[in-house]
Symmetry: C2
Subunit: 210 residues, 2 copies
C-alpha cells in the first residue's frame, strides 16, 4: 500500500537485502549481453533470466515488463555518459574554447568506449518510440551542460550557444556511432578522436570570429 501504481515502468520493488540488489544488477547486465548476442528481436525475458542466473519470476519482481527492462538498461548507460559530460563541462568553465571542446570530446568518447559492447547493444533499444523520449530527455542534460560551459568562455561566440551545442552533440554522437559500429572501433579510436577535435575546434574558431 506504499504507492499506487501510477508509474507503470518503475521498478515494482526496491532491493532491500544485498542478494536482491545483486539480482537486479545481474539482470541488467544479462540484458545487455543477450541484446548483444541475439539482438533485440530475439531477446526474451526467459533468456535474460537464464543468463542472469535467476528465474523469470525474479525478473518480474523488479521489472513490470519487458519494455521496462530494456528502458532501464538504456537509462543506466545514458545516464553514465551524461554524467561524464556534465562533469567535464563544469570542470572546463571559464576556459578557452579549444581546451573546452578537447576535454569534452575526450570525455565523451571515453565514456562511450568504456564499454563498447554496451553502447552498441543499446543502439537497438534507443530507437524505439518510448525509448527515444528517454534518449532526448537525458541528452538534454548534456545540452544544458555544454551551453552553460560555452557561455563562460572569455572568447565571444557569434552564433547561438544552443545551436552550437546541438551541432557538437550531433557531431559527437554521429561520429562515435559510426566508429562503434565499424568492424574494429579500437583500431581507429585515436585517429578519429584527433579528427573530431580538429573539426570541433575549426568550427568553434569560425563561430567566434564571424
Amino acid at each position: 500500500m506504499s504507492q499506487p501504481s501510477h508509474a507503470l515502468l518503475e521498478p515494482r520493488k526496491s532491493p532491500v537485502q544485498a542478494r536482491s540488489a545483486a539480482s537486479v544488477e545481474a539482470i541488467l547486465e544479462a540484458t545487455v549481453q543477450v541484446l548483444l548476442s541475439v539482438g533485440k528481436d530475439r531477446l526474451t525475458t526467459t533468456r535474460v533470466a537464464l543468463r542472469a542466473g535467476v528465474s523469470v519470476g525474479t525478473l518480474y519482481q523488479y521489472f513490470p515488463n519487458k519494455s521496462a527492462l530494456l528502458q532501464a538498461a538504456l537509462k543506466r548507460h545514458l545516464t553514465a555518459v551524461a554524467s561524464a559530460v556534465e562533469h567535464v563541462c563544469r570542470e572546463q568553465e571559464g576556459q578557452k574554447l579549444q581546451p573546452m571542446v578537447t576535454a569534452l570530446i575526450t570525455a565523451f568518447l571515453q565514456a562511450k568506449m568504456q564499454n563498447v559492447k554496451t553502447s552498441v547493444a543499446l543502439y537497438a533499444v534507443s530507437s524505439d518510440l518510448d525509448a527515444a523520449k528517454i534518449v532526448q530527455q537525458i541528452g538534454s542534460r548534456s545540452t544544458k551542460a555544454i551551453v552553460q560551459m560555452l557561455t563562460t568562455s572569455p572568447e565571444p561566440l557569434t552564433a547561438d550557444p544552443q545551436l552550437i551545442a546541438f551541432m557538437l552533440q550531433g557531431l559527437m554522437t554521429g561520429v562515435s556511432r559510426k566508429l562503434l559500429e565499424s568492424p574494429a572501433p579500437e583500431k581507429h579510436f585515436d585517429a578519429v578522436r584527433r579528427e573530431l577535435i580538429s573539426m570541433a575546434c575549426a568550427y568553434l574558431h569560425a563561430c567566434s570570429s564571424r
Copy 2:
C-alpha cells in the same frame, strides 16, 4: 521451378501485372505508416496488410517474412539517399572543396528531409542486427563517392580522404538524425544546414593547410 530459394530474403515473386506492382508499393508504403503510428514492436503483418488495403496472404506473396518486409522498406529509403549523394559527388568532381561540401550537405539533407516521416520511422528498423549490415553496405556506397570526389579537388588534402569522408558522414548523419528527431525539424532546417556547411568547410580548410 524458376529459382531455388537460395536467398531467403528476396521477394518471392516479381510483379508482372500492374496491379501487383501497386500492391507491393502499397505494402511498402503502409509499412512505413504503421511503423510511424505504432512503432516497430507493435507492427504486425496483418496490420500492415490492412493499412495497405490488401490481405495478409498478398503480403506474403511478395515478402517471405516480416523481417524481409522491414528490410525492404529500409533498403528502399537508404538507396534513395545514397543515390542522391552519388549524384552530387559525380557532379562536383574537380571543384574546390568548399563548393563540394556545400553541395554534398545540401543534397544529403534534402534527400533526408524529402520525407521526414519515412526517415524517422526507419530509424527503428536500422539498428537491428541484420539491418545494420544493410545500413553499412549502402552507406559505403556514399563513402566511396565522397572519397572519389575529394581526390579530384585541386586543393591538396593532408589527411586521409577515407578518414575525412568518414568524419563528414558521421557529422551529417548525426546532426540530421538529431534534427529529425527533434520536435520541429522543419523549423530549424535552414539554421542547421548553415551550421553544418560552416563546420564542414572549417574542417576541410584545416585539412588542406595542416
